[in-house]
């Protein structure tokens, strides 16, 4: 288990005073202090970790957020920002002596401008909510994390969320124009706007993916894009992971950038097929789902090119969707992958390293060996175009030894990702989960440099402490003394 700092007793002792102060700032039912109502906030998408917070506050306006932060800063109270609580890395995990600031009540769409192709929304608007608001006019918001029905744009900004289609459209950072940023001092700063590339330091780029370490975001201006005429998928199954990897290289090398290029290994194919009956080939060692966009004729042209490339790699099966319905059927298994694994194992950990795509066969072979060594099953889904690997490690949460092994297995996989030239996290964030592995990827000086930048924003280290940076080396003591 990853250690959380011991709460500061002097803060715990002031609980009633803190609740009272928060209630003065956010009137009505926006402050939660009783145990039953605090319980739902004790965890996020990393459910193995739980901690009931000191209090939860649910502001409705930027001014309330600013006032809460100003008060917490003046009183030395830690703050944990929260959107929908879907973080897979424990980014919204509370601390016993922290106030959780939940942004879910800030859920208004403020402006949509189709002529200039942007939307201004509050942080608590769901990712899918943005697309829903503009799809009637043929537009969409591009980043599509698999939690997009629930996750909120404010959380997407803080974690720089990706999705299955980011090979073509980029991640959150590439689709933002501006944010309303609130500092720990309670200053409200408009960064960027409805235009591209604001002059001066790239604050927008630094804040995106900062996991709540630098400040909070209450409003977001995103680019919206006109959708393509259509999209269609194909499935290609191969006898070996090396062969599938070589096919991916050949597709990209031919100049085609599919809008999605997903890879599944054999355990994953089997789990998904048992769950979704999508018609996946059970004798394949690896399978690709490849999606292209355009008019029907353009889709045909691209799919034929890709099919011809795949045929050079002795495929077990090639299935090109003839219709949107067949496309959905191909995707059905992949989209249900996490649920499918959840059905064959009581619990699983979803890892999120990125590797150079050329290292895929080696990495999958090593993960297979580790799976035997730890005695835990693993299924791999992989955004093959961009190297983002999601091993799903199966374990039993009721068995502490099984959980300990799963965490150790996951850490070994992430060390391997770094060893082959990749990184600890492609889209889920460091959070609590990967905090203590940061020393694998960064030198002590590199971490200190990042910490110094956090300190420039948050001198007392009150913003989401104990996440991202290993506790040892923090310039401000994080544990009780």
């Amino acid at each position: 288990m990853i250690a959380l700092p011991a709460p500061k007793p002097e803060i715990l002792a002031r609980r009633e005073e803190i609740l009272e102060a928060l209630r003065r700032i956010v009137p009505g039912d926006g402050v939660i202090g009783d145990a039953t109502r605090l319980k739902p906030y004790e965890t996020d998408g990393l459910a193995a970790y739980r901690q009931v917070p000191l209090a939860v506050v649910l502001p409705r306006t930027t001014e309330e957020v600013a006032a809460v932060l100003r008060w917490c800063n003046a009183n030395g109270v830690r703050v944990v920002p929260r959107g929908a609580g879907t973080s897979l890395s424990g980014g919204a995990l509370p601390l016993a002596d922290a106030v959780v600031i939940g942004l879910m009540r800030m859920n208004r769409i403020l402006e949509i401008d189709l002529e200039d192709r942007f939307a201004v929304v509050e942080a608590g608007v769901t990712n899918i909510g943005i697309t829903k608001a503009v799809e009637g006019d043929g537009f969409f918001y591009a980043p599509d994390p698999s939690s997009q029905l629930a996750c909120m744009i404010g959380g997407n900004v803080m974690m720089n969320s990706g999705g299955a289609h980011c090979l073509k459209y980029g991640v959150t950072a590439n689709n933002l124009l501006g944010v309303k940023f609130v500092t720990i001092e309670g200053e409200v700063i408009d960064i960027g706007g409805a235009h591209l590339d604001a002059a001066g330091f790239d604050w927008l780029g630094l804040i995106t993916g900062s996991e709540g370490q630098l400040g909070l975001v209450t409003e977001v201006t995103v680019r919206i894009l006109r959708g393509p005429e259509g999209a269609r998928a194909m499935l290609a199954a191969f006898k070996g992971t090396e062969i599938a990897g070589a096919a991916v290289d050949a597709i990209i090398g031919s100049g085609i950038i599919p809008v999605a290029l997903e890879f599944m290994d054999k355990p994953c194919i089997h789990a998904c097929e048992a769950f979704a009956h999508a018609g996946y080939p059970l004798d394949a060692e690896a399978m690709l789902i490849i999606e292209v966009e355009g008019s029907v004729a353009e889709q045909d042209d691209l799919l034929n090119r890709i099919k011809a490339i795949c045929e050079r790699f002795d495929p077990i099966s090639l299935k090109v969707a003839e219709s949107a319905e067949q496309s959905l059927a191909i995707w059905k298994g992949r989209k249900g992958a996490f649920g499918a694994v959840g059905r064959i194992s009581p619990d699983y950990l979803c890892m999120d390293g990125t590797i150079p795509t050329s290292e895929l066969p080696f990495v999958l072979k090593r993960i297979g060996e580790m799976s035997t060594q730890y005695g835990l099953g693993v299924a791999n889904v992989f955004h093959a175009g961009d190297g983002n690997l999601h091993p799903l490690i199966m374990f039993d949460a009721n068995d502490p030894e099984s959980f300990r092994k799963a965490e150790a297995f996951g850490a070994d996989i992430l060390r391997l990702c770094v060893e082959v030239g990749g990184c600890l996290t492609g889209e889920h964030g460091v959070g609590v989960e990967k905090r203590d592995l940061m020393t694998v990827q960064f030198t002590a000086r590199e971490l200190d440099q990042q910490r110094a930048i956090k300190t420039a924003f948050d001198p007392q280290w009150l913003l989401n402490p104990s996440k991202v940076f290993p506790l040892e080396g923090a310039p401000v003591p994080l544990a009780a003394e």
Binding site: D197, F201, S210, G387, Q450
Partner: protein, 392 residues
């Protein structure tokens, strides 16, 4: 001319910066010095040039990544990419004509200034494609951020912070970029329009179409109006199909001409390099970023000064030229601010660059954070002092 240090490798760069830090001696940081005329002149007795840190260190076309040392000339990178049918996504401008320099820009210079060309409107800016950096901070420490993979959210994103920081936060020594295949062919649809507002409507129609427009610019034409230009880059069957469909959609806006691949390449190279501006020696040049529909107001602001301009990025990037005076700069900066946008004094005589804010001022709380971030990376303030703002 100040004394120039041109270290041979990263370790020597680090040693030079460490020595300067210890002595509290400011350094002007540059590659080939092609953009010395950009923003404010740096006040430093010595220049640190990265020009000898040159060469591509990794190119993996199937993984869409390229790494090169900071001093690598852009044409060398473009040639290596072209050999594999790939290209720099953000299409950075060649500023040699603007600044009257001979040597080619370097990768480090393009990233440090975050200069992006026409393809930025659809495919992102230079900094959007910086996957990893190695850099030397103001204390002479060699540090890394990011890496060589396309998706990476590990730790604070210093790649983005340093891209566009004009060498004031660190000295870039090596950069890894995402690259993409170049379209098999291209075409441009050109519509003559009487005025800029009508032109931006054409650009918006193109960018709001499902046809993947990769360039949208409005340039003055011989008939006294403007040519609204929309570029398509893709496989040949797609370009043929999309040109025809887009031409149908644009027909209500005016007569549509279709330019072939050769003419398209030539036209967009000119737009990329701001050639339609036809800036005269001694004139100031501004680069203004606003929401696209505010582009025409920026042209009007230049017009009122006896200057001129053209629009890229669907109308949202105004390249403007006009008299190099404080009054003219004030008028352009005010017009940009009124439209909620941002203005950069891109070129001007040294006296003007020293006397005005070449970038918009930041709100006080953000400026204070900026000073603390600068101190975190460059505590002695030796890297490019005064480059972006007076006294910083």
């Amino acid at each position: 001319m100040s004394a120039t240090l041109a270290p041979a490798d990263e370790a020597a760069v680090a040693a030079a910066v460490a020595a300067a830090h210890a002595a509290r001696e400011p350094l002007a940081i540059e590659g080939n010095g092609t953009k010395r005329g950009l923003l404010r002149p740096v006040q430093a007795a010595r220049t640190l040039s990265l020009r000898n840190l040159s060469g591509i260190t990794l190119y993996s076309p199937a993984e869409l990544v390229l790494s090169a040392r900071a001093g690598t000339p852009i044409p060398e990178i473009e040639a290596a990419l072209a050999e594999k049918g790939q290209q720099l996504i953000a299409e950075p401008p060649d500023t040699r004509a603007i600044f009257g320099t001979d040597a080619p820009a370097t990768l480090g210079g393009i990233v440090a200034t975050n200069l992006s060309g026409p393809r930025r409107i659809t495919w992102g800016s230079m900094r959007d494609h910086v996957l990893g950096i190695r850099f030397v901070n103001g204390q002479g420490e060699v540090l890394r951020s990011g890496g060589r993979v396309l998706k990476n959210v590990t730790g604070l994103d210093l790649c983005k912070l340093l891209s566009g920081a004009h060498g004031t936060l660190g000295v870039l020594t090596e950069i890894t970029l995402k690259v993409l295949p170049a379209g098999e062919t291209s075409a441009t649809l050109r519509v003559h329009v009487p005025d800029a507002a009508a032109g931006v409507r054409v650009l918006s129609a193109g960018l709001g179409s499902p046809f993947g427009v990769s360039g949208a610019a409005l340039v003055p034409d011989a008939a006294g109006g403007f040519a609204a230009c929309l570029r398509l880059e893709d496989f040949a069957p797609s370009v043929t199909y999309r040109s025809a469909r887009l031409a149908e959609d644009l027909a209500p806006h005016g007569d549509v001409a279709v330019l072939d691949a050769d003419a398209t390449r030539a036209l967009w190279r000119e737009i990329r390099d701001a050639a339609p501006l036809a800036a005269q020696p001694g004139e100031a040049i501004w680069r203004v970023s606003v929401r696209p529909s505010a582009g025409p107001a920026m042209l009007a602001a230049a017009d009122a000064l006896g200057g001129r301009g053209f629009l890229d990025w669907g109308g949202g990037l105004a390249w403007l030229a006009g008299p190099a005076s404080e009054a003219a700069h004030g008028a352009i900066a005010a017009a940009a601010a009124a439209a909620g946008g941002t203005c950069t004094l891109f070129r001007a005589p040294e006296a003007l660059r020293l006397s005005v804010a070449v970038l918009p001022d930041e709100p006080a709380p953000l400026a204070a954070i900026g000073r603390r971030v600068k101190a975190a990376l460059d505590p002695a303030g030796i890297l490019n002092p005064g480059r972006m703002r007076a006294g910083a």
